[in-house]
């Protein structure tokens, strides 16, 4: 063990094999980690795909009624039938992410955290919210109500 690498000393077979095994092992593991690290840092762009999901029908979602649903990411949304026009919005307030509630009498969404108001089209009308509620595409076919949800 007295010889230095690059020096003129003889390297025993045992040391050579141990060092070779260590080098190969380290190169393999660090190489794998590096490969996946680069793949993490330079991801391929993923296209968003949407699927129409049957959520409810117009027999249940009568005019004036509202119905909650959960999207593929587990976030809450709400379907609102405002006198025949069915719309779907995310229940997440655009201010600080609290859950908004639908007031069917006043036809508005209300966020209890900081008193934010959105109208029946999801537009932010009063309080701190900076932009409208996120909207989902809704299709009504043969009384069935489909909501376009993003695939995970």
């Amino acid at each position: 063990m007295n010889e230095k690498e690059g020096g003129g000393g003889e390297v025993s077979r045992r040391d050579f094999l141990a060092n070779a095994a260590m080098t190969v092992g380290l190169a393999a593991s660090l190489g794998t980690a590096g490969y996946y690290g680069v793949r993490y840092l330079v991801p391929k762009p993923r296209k968003k795909t949407f699927v129409d999901v049957l959520v409810t029908n117009l027999k249940e979602l009568t005019p004036g009624a509202a119905q909650e649903f959960i999207d593929a990411q587990g976030r809450k949304g709400i379907l609102v039938n405002n006198n025949g026009t069915v719309k779907a919005f995310s229940k997440i307030c655009t201010h600080l992410g609290c859950e908004v509630e639908w007031h069917s009498q006043k036809k508005e969404f209300f966020c209890p955290c900081h008193e934010g108001f959105f109208d029946a089209n999801g537009k932010n009308v009063k309080g701190p919210p900076p932009r409208p509620l996120n909207e989902f595409k809704v299709t009504v076919k043969d009384d069935n109500v489909y909501v376009a949800l993003e695939e995970v």
């Binding site: 993490y40 991801p43 993923r46 992410g97 900081h114």
Partner: protein
């Protein structure tokens, strides 16, 4: 130059460091027999956890956005869209939990075996600071995901801090960056979580380890008594 020795390789000539001595210092310390029991090694586990948290945390900071309307989405993106993002996030999360658990167990072990006593007061004090910093990093990290529970944990946590006598109001406004949770709050929590707290933890781990190496491992009182009893009974025979 005269100091360049002929029989040394290029690395040894350009970097004249005694690697052997460093290796000797780092791994060559002779430890007492009782250190082979696993619960005496609980101090090293949180240090390794910290290292893994730093690596996985830096990786996730590439994608995290500390802004209220983006924070949850960016965490969801790390989990669902970015290759191996879910894996890094899980590692970060479990290492964080294990770090809290092992730091606590380490403190209990040191307390139970009396290893905190004179002259190791500053080991104990730096360790206590490390425990508090670990919990602080946990709290700020929990808030960064920005789920409903994060939001209310922030509200409750800063509320508790705000009830501190005299300086409470100052602390709460410092943490929130205003009167209530807003745009500034997540930024502050992110800087605390990803820069300030880890930097102090790193410094404290350094101090902690240097102190341990200077003092050497604390003697094991229970084991010593057993040895003593053995010795005495042998003397009787």
């Amino acid at each position: 130059m005269e100091d360049v020795k002929k029989n040394e390789g290029w690395i040894d000539q350009t970097l004249p460091v005694d690697w052997g001595k460093i290796k000797e210092e780092a791994v060559g310390e002779i430890l007492p027999h009782h250190m082979k029991l696993w619960w005496y090694c609980l101090g090293g586990v949180p240090a390794i956890m910290f290292l893994m948290l730093v690596i996985s945390g830096i990786m996730m900071a590439f994608y995290y956005v500390p802004y209220p309307s983006e924070a949850y989405e960016s965490v969801a993106r790390i989990t669902n869209d970015i290759p191996f993002g879910w894996w890094l996030r899980s590692i970060h999360r479990w290492c964080a939990e294990l770090m809290v658990v092992t730091v606590s167990l380490h403190a209990i072990r040191v307390f139970a075996t009396g290893a905190y006593r004179h002259p190791r007061e500053f080991c104990w004090i730096s360790g206590s600071i490390l425990l508090l910093l670990t919990l602080g990093a946990g709290f700020t990290g929990y808030s960064l995901c920005y789920t409903q529970t994060s939001y209310w944990a922030m509200t409750i946590g800063t509320g508790i801090a705000g009830k501190t006598p005299i300086i409470g109001d100052f602390i709460s406004r410092f943490l929130l960056g205003g009167e209530s949770i807003g745009d500034a709050t997540l930024n502050r929590f992110f800087i605390l979580h990803a820069a300030i707290i880890p930097a102090i933890i790193f410094l404290m781990i350094f101090v902690h380890i240097v102190l341990i190496r200077l003092h050497g491992v604390a003697e094991h009182i229970v084991g010593m008594q057993r040895e003593l009893i053995k010795g005495l009974s042998r003397g009787d025979e």
